[in-house]
């Protein structure tokens, strides 16, 4: 395990939320990510799925240390990122990049596409000449499917898909080893989604990079991922190989998620068993005791309320955090 590429161990991100008190505030921790562990290997894609507010984006940012972790370790090639100082962290980020959800908001409106893509070069290859930099920028633009002659355009002159390509070009220009994709396609329409996802897969194959692909779209995650991590209220529900997860989902939450995916065949769609979850996501300020999913779970028993289930092996390359997965 020591030679692992990216190792996340018991990562916790808690935000202190003021919940009362007049002069001296009373703070309650909001457990956005609570004890998440996983490994990522070179060239692998790990999909992270879960509903809104379950801590997917926070997890991605905490891996990059854009948000400080409350507890736990993110070990990258053997060094723990949470223990680094500012300078060392900046140096480590050369190999860690991120692609954001909102293509336009993640680009500085006052900079040209060329300047935006070249920014990592200014930070990490400061000795590079202007001409070299321009050549590299034009090269990567072509690679991600942008015309190099658009180099002087501004973000508001591009379409959403093109903006996302700029964001991808910026993340890829340093040839990083790990790219975190924080819902990179959810703001795009379906045809563009396919293009962007295929582009990411091409780049992954060519550059051998690892992806942490955050999404709530199960179909896209199925297409791009090798393994899938299911999050609920900041905790891991299930971590499994793609094939195993989609064929034999073990956790009731995963089963419910998968049953919600529409099947593009009206007869099958009408006849399939839908597991309907009742209620809303509980507040992460006041999560249920024991298993966090028990309030909406059909299989919940007294055991679920008293004891937090641990991740346990449930078959080949599949881990589940549920007391009742065997039933």
């Amino acid at each position: 395990m020591s030679d692992a590429f990216l190792q996340v161990r018991d990562l916790k991100v808690h935000f202190p939320i003021r919940t009362g008190g007049i002069l001296i505030g009373r703070y309650t921790p909001l457990k956005a990510v609570d004890g998440v562990s996983f490994d990522l290997n070179p060239g692998e894609t790990l999909g992270v799925v879960g509903e809104s507010g379950c801590g997917k984006s926070t997890l991605g940012r905490a891996v990059l240390q854009l948000i400080g972790a409350t507890d736990g370790a993110v070990s990258w090639l053997g060094t723990d990122l949470t223990s680094l100082n500012k300078k060392e962290l900046i140096a480590a980020r050369e190999n860690l990049q991120i692609v954001f959800q909102d293509p336009l908001a993640s680009l500085d409106p006052r900079m040209t596409a060329g300047d935006i893509i070249a920014e990592p070069l200014l930070n990490y290859r400061s000795t590079m000449s202007k001409a070299e930099r321009r050549m590299m920028v034009e090269g990567i633009m072509e690679r991600v499917g942008l015309l190099p002659r658009m180099i002087n355009r501004y973000p508001h002159e591009f379409s959403g898909g093109q903006c996302q390509r700029i964001g991808i070009a910026r993340a890829m220009i340093l040839r990083p080893k790990l790219v975190i994709c924080d819902e990179p396609v959810s703001a795009l329409d379906v045809s563009i989604q396919a293009q962007v996802v295929n582009l990411l897969m091409d780049l992954q194959r060519d550059f051998g990079l690892a992806l942490l692909f955050i999404s709530h779209d199960l179909a896209i995650v199925r297409h791009i991922s090798h393994r899938v991590l299911v999050l609920y209220l900041g905790r891991v529900m299930e971590l499994a190989d793609k094939a195993a997860l989609y064929a034999t989902p073990r956790h009731p939450y995963t089963q419910a998620l998968l049953s919600a995916v529409p099947i593009p065949d009206p007869t099958q769609e009408r006849n399939k068993d839908r597991i309907l979850l009742t209620g809303d996501l509980p507040s992460p300020l006041n999560p249920p005791t024991g298993c966090v999913f028990r309030t909406r779970c059909g299989k919940a028993t007294d055991l679920c309320a008293s004891q937090t289930p641990k991740l346990e092996r449930a078959g080949d390359g599949q881990e589940v955090a549920c007391h009742h997965w065997k039933d």
Binding site: I98, E142, G145, E157, Q195
Partner: protein
């Protein structure tokens, strides 16, 4: 990476324009930045453009015109020694003041001082205000608390008191006055910049800059400052008249420029004493001052409209 052949997807997305050849020949397309867009809108605003042109012409006349006036601002015409009406024979095109000095030369020289104060003191305020505001807003936490409480304390110090003390300690110095006014005017600027920075700070592109290895300083300089500049530039054009007015006020009280040097404010003060005998000595500098202030305000309004984010 450029040796990778053009694949199907790429041609599907961008090159499927019917006449791709012609487009390729069009070479690099220059994008139009938000600044250029704003400038285009400003050009369409007639009042603002007239004001801008008027200000440039007036400043030009003030700085270059002194060379063409037969008298200098400090020269006393010993043949006259009193306020006289315009007289082309002696070269006093706008007459003289009560000491027999040429009024036109004095108005032009006063204009130089007023414009200089306006621009230099505002630049001082701009530099301090933007750096303090951007740092406080972006770094946050204790730094923010410290800087903003300092600004609060400065706000509480009476302006006149502050300037009088500076003048007493360092003596009456022409440039010191610019600094003193600038030191007072940066307070509001820093608050505006801080507020803007706070809204920008959580934008994704700032996070993206951090992820791509930017240090705090480089993010402030490369992303925060250019993005707050739209608001700042409007405030600058509205600060310039404020500063000019403040200088006039100081000169009126006798704390500003020293005779024989003058400024529009000092000229108005002098003219006010003789307004019953020679209203000309009051009205002429007053007209110059108020039209300048008026134009700066118009320009500021025009800029605000041009840079309004709702229009983007």
């Amino acid at each position: 990476m450029s040796d990778v052949p053009i694949n199907k997807r790429r041609s599907g997305s961008n090159l499927s324009v019917p006449n791709a050849d012609a487009l390729d020949k069009a070479a690099d397309v220059e994008g139009r930045s938000l600044w250029q867009d704003a400038f285009r809108r400003l050009k369409a605003n007639r009042a603002a453009m007239i004001s801008a042109i008027f200000l440039i012409v007036l400043a030009f006349i003030c700085f270059v015109g002194t060379a063409f006036v037969p008298w200098s601002y400090e020269e006393i015409d010993w043949d006259i020694l009193e306020a006289t009406p315009p007289n082309f024979a002696t070269g006093h095109y706008l007459g003289t003041d009560s000491l027999g000095r040429d009024l036109l030369a004095r108005i032009l020289q006063g204009g130089q001082v007023s414009f200089l104060v306006g621009i230099l003191a505002t630049s001082v305020a701009l530099v301090i205000g933007v750096s303090v505001g951007a740092t406080a807003g972006f770094v946050g936490g204790r730094v923010d608390q410290f800087l903003m409480r300092f600004v609060d304390v400065m706000y509480a110090v009476p302006l006149m008191f502050f300037i009088i003390i500076l003048m007493v300690v360092f003596g009456r110095n022409f440039y010191l006055m610019f600094l003193a006014i600038g030191f007072v005017e940066w307070l509001t600027m820093s608050r505006i910049v801080r507020g803007q920075t706070l809204t920008l700070k959580n934008k994704e592109f700032i996070e993206a800059a951090r992820a791509s290895g930017g240090s705090t300083t480089s993010i402030i300089l490369r992303h925060i400052v250019p993005n707050v500049f739209g608001v700042v530039i409007v405030y600058v054009t509205l600060t310039i008249p404020q500063v000019i007015l403040l200088e006039s006020f100081l000169s009126f009280l006798g704390l500003g420029v020293q005779p024989p040097m003058t400024s529009w404010g000092a000229l108005i003060a002098e003219g006010a004493q003789e307004m019953e005998i020679t209203p000309r000595t009051l009205i002429l500098p007053a007209v110059c001052l108020s039209t300048t202030l008026f134009c700066f305000n118009f320009l500021g309004d025009g800029l605000r409209d041009a840079l309004d984010p709702k229009d983007r």
